[in-house]
């Protein structure tokens, strides 16, 4: 089935999320929609899926103009969507999830689970999926859950399949498998829309590439285009993709973690007997698929975790058992993984956010417990310029900034204290390419100032670009600590828990 979007325009108040976007996807083609976060890709797909109504423009399937009042209409017309956050009921089985929204019932309203089961088996067999129809979804690995989503879409006879950032949650191996599935679907004649901001994946599977920036189509590209060409199309200016850095000047052992174990309230172990050392002037990058203990590791260092055993020594001083405030005062800079939840107070101004971890003492408070607002505002203006935060002024609410500018505010706050250690979790997640460049430079500059840095990232590109050494975590354990020049496929393998020969544990 051929899908054509014609001049789709969608506005939210004054903001134009999609500005006359046109797109044609042929059957048996993988059409890649490339753009930064906030470029309007998801909005466009929500219009296609009937979740939003376009203000202008039309959706045409095989020459017939459609009007969707909701996802139900879109599904009936043959459009399937594999969402970034899976739309599955975790406690239902695969077959039950398949029926959801399309329940066939027998006499007296009994559910016809057998038919659904049969359907799962049939589609699984067709594409070589290994999915048990009676498995409970929450017990399945993430990659398998995604396959359930795909089966669900195919079971409704989807001719057009939309993948919305499908690789964000996958391991490199699962990503490769997904690429294989997409190719198979293409051979079967399905029209595929693949939304992503990862250049590597685009070049691997796409037949055609459309680049969107700020709600507009800014160009088409061939899969043969180089990463730099695609990136500059996305950002609108030339971008430096590699991080320029000198070999590290290593100092003494600064951060010494020994036998660290972190459990949660229920006793579940998230970090299991982890020991490593970071030297002054060194960047240790922690690689791993999301949810393998990285969050808990960083939070344990900062004092945000309650059930911590083992020892974390910073310059010889024990951090375990100290409050967050004591840890921060000891010179630990912390860029949290989710800046909107843990990093910023959205309704506070930039200036207020810049003093968030210095409200007890320091330059911004007076002896009598008052705020020294003039000092704070001068500091904020200085940092705004220094960190190139694009905002109308220091009074702008942090919540109104773009992801990249929000992250710059967090980084500015943490780096402007006297640091003895920097812990940066996902420092560039959801950040535009231009800001990534800047933040990476800052992290390297911190290292060059002789400060030990611990960077956690699920993006292998970022890990490889920044690291002096790489530590791979899998299910809370260290798989290995390897040099920065370790080949990607080895790292990818390690992220699935396999320990290669020669890796230091």
């Amino acid at each position: 089935m051929q899908l054509a979007l014609r001049d789709i325009t969608k506005r939210f108040g004054a903001l134009v999320a999609n500005d006359r976007i046109s797109l044609t996807v042929e059957p048996g083609e993988i059409h890649c929609l490339l753009g930064e976060n906030g470029a309007g890709k998801s909005t466009l797909m929500n219009v296609l899926y009937g979740l939003y109504t376009a203000d202008e423009g039309e959706i045409v399937l095989d020459g017939v103009t459609q009007s969707f009042d909701g996802p139900g209409d879109a599904i009936a017309a043959g459009i399937g969507m594999v969402h970034q956050h899976f739309m599955l009921v975790p406690v239902f089985t695969v077959a039950e999830n398949l029926m959801l929204g399309n329940e066939t019932t027998g006499l007296g309203g009994t559910l016809d689970v057998d038919a659904a089961r049969e359907r799962v088996r049939e589609i699984s067999a067709r594409f070589g999926f290994d999915i048990d129809p009676d498995a409970v979804v929450e017990d399945l690995p993430v990659g398998a859950q995604q396959r359930v989503e795909i089966i669900k879409a195919l079971s409704r006879d989807a001719q057009v399949l939309v993948f919305d950032e499908p690789t964000a949650v996958l391991t490199p191996r699962e990503t490769d498998e997904l690429m294989g599935i997409m190719r198979q679907l293409r051979e079967a004649g399905t029209a595929i829309v693949f939304i992503t901001h990862k250049l590597r994946e685009v070049r691997e599977v796409a037949d055609r590439i459309t680049v969107i920036r700020l709600g507009k189509v800014v160009g088409e590209a061939e899969p043969t285009a180089s990463n730099a060409e695609l990136a500059s199309l996305m950002v609108g200016r030339p971008v430096e993709l590699t991080v320029q850095k000198q070999p590290p000047t290593l100092g003494d052992d600064a951060l010494v973690v020994d036998g660290l174990t972190v459990t949660d309230v229920t006793g579940l172990v998230h970090v299991n007997d982890v020991s490593f050392t970071v030297r002054a002037g060194e960047i240790m990058a922690v690689a791993g698929v999301q949810g393998n203990g990285q969050t808990e590791l960083t939070e344990a260092i900062v004092g945000l975790q309650d059930h911590v055993r083992g020892s974390i020594l910073l310059d010889g001083r024990e951090l375990v058992g100290r409050s967050v405030r004591q840890v921060l005062d000891a010179g630990v800079g912390f860029v949290p993984e989710d800046r909107q939840v843990d990093g910023l107070v959205g309704s506070f101004s930039i200036a207020e956010n810049l003093m968030l971890d210095r409200s007890f003492s320091g330059p911004f408070t007076s002896r009598f417990g008052g705020l020294r607002r003039a000092v704070r505002d001068a500091f904020a203006r200085e940092k705004l310029a220094e960190y190139d935060v694009r905002a109308p002024g220091i009074e702008t609410r942090a919540g109104n900034l773009s992801g990249g500018n929000q992250q710059k505010v967090v980084v500015a706050r943490e780096l402007s204290r006297d640091l003895r250690l920097l812990v940066a979790a996902q420092p560039t997640r959801g950040v535009d390419v231009g800001s990534i460049e800047f933040i990476h430079h800052q992290i390297v500059a911190t290292r060059d100032a002789g400060i030990p840095v611990l960077v956690v990232s699920t993006e292998l590109d970022e890990v490889v670009a920044l690291a002096d050494r790489i530590m791979v975590l899998y299910r809370g354990r260290i798989v290995g600590i390897v040099p920065a020049d370790t080949p990607r496929d080895v790292l990818g393998l390690m992220m699935t828990g396999e320990r290669p020969a020669g890796a230091v544990a």
Binding site: N37, S42, A168, L304, V324, R325, Q326, V341, G346, L356
Partner: protein
Amino acid sequence: MTDQQGQQPTGATGTTSAETDALDPAAQNSPPDELEKPREPEIGQWHTVMRSITSGNALVGVLSVFLAVLVGSVMILFTDEDVRATATYVFARPSDFFSASWFAISEAYSALFRGSIYNTRVDDPVTAIRPLTETLKFAGPLIAAGLGIGLTFRAGLFNIGGRGQMLLAGAAAGWVAVNVDAPLLVHLPLAVLAGMLAGALWAGLAGLLKARTGAHEVIVTIMLNYVGFYLVFYALSRQALLQAPDTVNPTSAPIPDTAVLPDMLGVRFNLHWGFGLALVAVAVVWWILDRSALGYRFRAVGENPHAAKAAGIDVGRTYVYAFLIAGALVGLAGTNQVLGTVTTGVTVDLDAGIGFDAITVALLGRSHPLGILGAGLLFGAFKAGGFSMQASQGIPVDIVLVIQSLIVLFIAAPPLVRAIFRLNRKGATA
């Protein structure tokens, strides 16, 4: 008392609409960020709802008052004898009905004005201005308690315990007043401080329970209202504690002159220095919230406890401090009642519904000190004028309570107000 407590379900109903409002993606005026993770549930809905209720904008507040007065007018029509009589032949002579209606409503509200601001029916200017001083007298404790509740709102807490905090404060202030013998300059401050301290500790208990055990402050403060009520009742029925020596009623001895708040404008008016203290409290709370590091932490914890925690702010301790200060302010209101407004002795109804009205005042004032000052004055006027409305027009004083409750209802349901006035969201949320 039942009228006052009736406000709580009202608030709860409004909550639901505010919730749907917050969850409607198309109404958010911005496209969903593509990589945005859903927020963690614990700070999710309840927090969003609470923030949208407690920090709505001024326009919604004003419109809510307007709507409430409008609905109040309809109620007045229903209760007015003439209107009901003329309504029976409204089709025969509609003019009778409409003129009776107009007369009833305009008389009711002008009586409200005469009772609360300026009595146009007397010649002596001093007597004429007397209603205004009555308004200020009623406003004093409403402002003080409203500040206490508003401060907890800013720290992300719902303090429903105003009644219990006032009772404990009133009892403590009364005990010092009756049992300590000292000159005015020592006795009065001592009694006031004792009251504020008792209020602070009673509220601090709720803060401590929340910080240490995670008990929800709404439940805790409501229950502490009952505990406080019966504690004070017990004290008032034991002569060894608080009961006056020559009575069997649950009341204390009258407050001696050395512990009574002096008149602000001389003996011709009832206005006492409780109002002055409330004004001082407005300034102090403004400084705390807007200019102090402690207030900065209150606001940080109120707006995003996760970010506050990650930045080294002890959220639990901040909750305790917020409750301590809030309790002292609500305690000031209780002290005001015992040492200023009703000096004939401590009783269990000394709070006069102020503990609950203060929630409304804080909501209407958007938890800002100056807003609370304005809202407190408005509610003081309602209280002062309500009596004269009943006296001169025979309109039940409950109408005023209805109007007050409706204001809360409209504030708690901003989408309703917006829908009625066809406000576009952008203008309304600016």
